[in-house]
């Protein structure tokens, strides 16, 4: 029932409506696009849907000593320009990425990259880093051929090893056109062409999908999901991804330095209602930092189900009661007035903040919301004069059980929220050096349990991704490790 499909004359092609604007196709800084969406580049290490690592361009890896790693490379791989994928290419590519994007050094701690022979790369790190393989899954470490850049080192076009080759990039519109890579080392795609169009406006994406200008997109306006689902020829899937809406608090200051207050607040948030009404079901009420289904998620956490009575009781225990009858609880004559900061780029956040505001009002907490640029928000927080901030935090940027814990809860790393628990620090340390994956997972779960007891951060909901596509789009399986959505070489069009 939809409009005429564009650019189709027998050969299969898929048009994707991308959710961000596209002004950068350098894999070192925008690897998510080239790796996960355009399928042009690949990294050394891959992940399974449950976030366990698996071989990709590297067939296996070994830690030789605390600072040295040996990666064996896959033999049968060729770049799109026909050159062979080898250790030299990996070395050049990684060093280039490090030089361009400072984040890669801080993730990987790479010091040197050496090609032992064609098929083996030796990587040394500046400090011991048990997460090196996991960090080499990070899309910005995609391996590209040297011919991707000109003689000044300027990116011409990414030439990778993926299932599709970049045919055309229009920097003025941000449109990417890919054709299939018939020499792909894995399964060759059934699609002949893949096209990505930047459509940052959610309404526009929904309209474009309905009109038939695109075949696939994600995150249309949440409220239109139900409607789109009913449109003939379209299907909608709700999925979760490794990102959690959380509220951080300034633990250095009252009232947040009191665990009873934190718990009270956690009980006072009706997560189910938020997910249902604010996110239109796109997401899931959070129990802990990690969504279910990840290898290191502690599935035993009970979370804080909505319980305003208990919340009030906890507040009262902590000395917060409405003594002057103005509807706002107070302690030593000081009413509880707090400010919640958040930013607008994730459309769910501002209305969520308002919902929290309304729910806190029932507890007698006067919450004010402020919406600002996210960098302004972290700047204010860094100065120490803040109460609460809400964000959507990626939990598996690097698929490692310790990475996210280390950033957010390790006392030395996150001075902003001021969480300081020696047990947690010790467990995270152990988790980071531990070689055995299963033991790592267990340590992580232990930390998660402590976090549930102390509630230094309020998890609200797991981030949901709504994928909307033509019914004809076949074999799309959502991969939760994706940043937004991830296509695979399996996707094709039903005839």
């Amino acid at each position: 029932g939809c409009g005429v499909k564009p650019a189709s004359s027998g050969n299969q092609s898929l048009v994707v409506g991308e959710i961000w604007k596209i002004d950068n196709i350098d894999p070192a800084t925008n690897g998510t696009l080239t790796m996960e969406k355009a399928l042009i580049t690949e990294t050394l290490v891959g992940t399974k849907p449950n976030f366990e690592l698996q071989p990709n361009l590297a067939s296996e890896w070994q830690r030789i000593d605390p600072n040295t790693w040996k990666f064996s490379l896959r033999k049968d791989v060729k770049f799109h320009d026909g050159t062979t994928f080898n250790a030299e290419a990996v070395k050049w590519s990684l060093l280039r990425a490090i030089q361009i994007n400072p984040q890669i050094v801080s993730f990987t701690k790479i010091k040197t990259v050496e090609a032992e022979n064609d098929g083996i790369v030796i990587i040394t790190t500046s400090t011991p880093n048990s997460d090196l393989p996991a960090s080499l899954h990070y899309s910005n470490t995609s391996i590209i051929a040297k011919s991707s850049v000109d003689k000044d080192g300027k990116m011409i076009r990414p030439i990778g090893t993926g299932a599709f080759k970049l045919e055309q990039y229009d920097p003025s519109t941000g449109d990417l056109k890919m054709s299939k890579n018939p020499d792909y080392w894995g399964t060759v795609s059934k699609l002949d062409n893949l096209e990505i169009r930047a459509l940052p406006d959610p309404n526009t994406r929904a309209l474009a999908l309905e009109k038939g200008e695109i075949d696939f997109t994600c995150d249309p306006p949440y409220n239109e999901l139900a409607r789109l689902e009913k449109v003939e020829g379209l299907k909608v899937e709700l999925n979760k991804t490794a990102r959690t809406y959380i509220i951080e608090m300034n633990l250095n200051e009252a009232p947040f330095n009191d665990v009873r207050v934190r718990k009270a607040m956690s009980y006072g948030i009706d997560r189910e209602s938020i997910v249902k009404n604010v996110l239109f079901g796109c997401g899931e009420a959070a129990k802990g930092p990690y969504m279910p289904g990840m290898a290191w998620t502690n599935e035993n956490l009970k979370g804080y189900p909505y319980n305003p009575a208990k919340a009030k009781q906890l507040l009262a225990e902590a000395g917060w009661q409405d003594s002057d009858g103005d509807g706002i609880v107070d302690h030593n004559g000081k009413p509880m007035r707090i400010t919640l900061m958040t930013y607008p780029q994730r459309p769910g956040l501002p209305p969520m903040a308002e919902a929290v505001q309304a729910q806190f009002k029932n507890l007698g907490i006067d919450l004010k919301t402020e919406i600002m640029d996210s960098s302004a928000m972290s700047n204010i927080a860094a100065k120490g004069k803040w109460d609460m901030k809400m964000s959507a935090f990626a939990t598996a940027m690097i698929p490692s059980p310790s990475y996210h814990l280390n950033i957010l809860y390790y006392s030395k790393n996150n001075k902003v929220i001021g969480y300081n628990n020696p047990d947690v620090d010790r467990l995270i340390d152990q988790c980071m050096v531990e070689e055995d994956q299963q033991k790592k997972y267990a340590l992580s779960k232990q930390v998660q349990q402590i976090l549930e007891d102390e509630e230094p951060v309020l998890p609200i909901a797991y981030y949901g991704v709504a994928v909307a596509m033509k019914s004809r789009v076949n074999n799309f399986v959502f991969n939760p490790t994706a940043h937004d959505y991830m296509l695979t070489n399996e996707v094709n069009i039903k005839e």
Binding site: K21, P102, Q103, E210, Q345, A394
Partner: protein, 316 residues
Amino acid sequence: MGRFICKRLAATILVIVAASMLTFGILHLTPGSTPATILKYAFIGLEEIPTDAEITEITTRFKLSDPLYQQYYRWIKQALRGDLGDSYVYRLPVAELIGLRFPATALLAVLSVTLSLLISIPLGILCAVKRNTFFDHFNRLLALFAVAMPSFWLAYLLIIVFSLGFNLFPVAGFRSLSSLVLPCVTLAAGMGAVTLRIMRSSMLEVMGQDYILTARSKGLYERSVIAKHALKNAFLPVVTVVGLQFGHMLGGSVIVETVFSWPGIGKLLIDSIFAKDIPVVQGCILLIAGTYALVNLLVDLSYALMDPRIRYGRES
């Protein structure tokens, strides 16, 4: 005349330099440390927390620890040599980046100015000629509504009706000629309404002048009175307004570009302001202020071209 242009150009350049200083200052007042902001927008993602090492790297890479005046001096020195520097975020030469985005905005602006003039000028004239008829009232009412219509709202209404309802034009983006239609109409509506009103009142004013009476007393046909005597005079104020409108259009395009995902300079500027991508912001401001000044210069010149009183000075 030549000296007039020279002096105007010099003044324009001074104004642009001052404007660039102003933006430079404003950007540095923005909360959030510059390196962290750049990191978030260009490298690590909005929600990630920059580490100290990353911040140091960015600070030294872009020489952000230098005092403000040094940074500005460096920028202006480069700019005078024709080099606008490299974008922090896109890591492309600013000139190239702007070169990519400007044509889309220019195309949009020029087309919508043309469209709005093509419609509003004849309508304005007709309204003046048939003043106080139904035609006049209807068009003035329409113009009033168009002025009062927020462009983003109009844009959505147009999309719903013409893209979804009648499936006539693409929803967004800049991929074919037909995708020009809706953004152009959106931008042209507001401007056209203003021009129509100015044209009408200017025309009415001119029609009351003595020389129109003279023309009529010669026995001219009414249409030659309008075409040969009234029009040219009535155009003078319209030209100024069109020049000013052009500036508004550059501003208004930010909104239209957002709604229609139009890859133009307005969107680039706003994004760069957020990202503290100073070279790009400066480049865009330079371009916008320059274009604006150029348009105004052209307006002045065409004014002089149209009006002999200015061309030959007032004294006889």
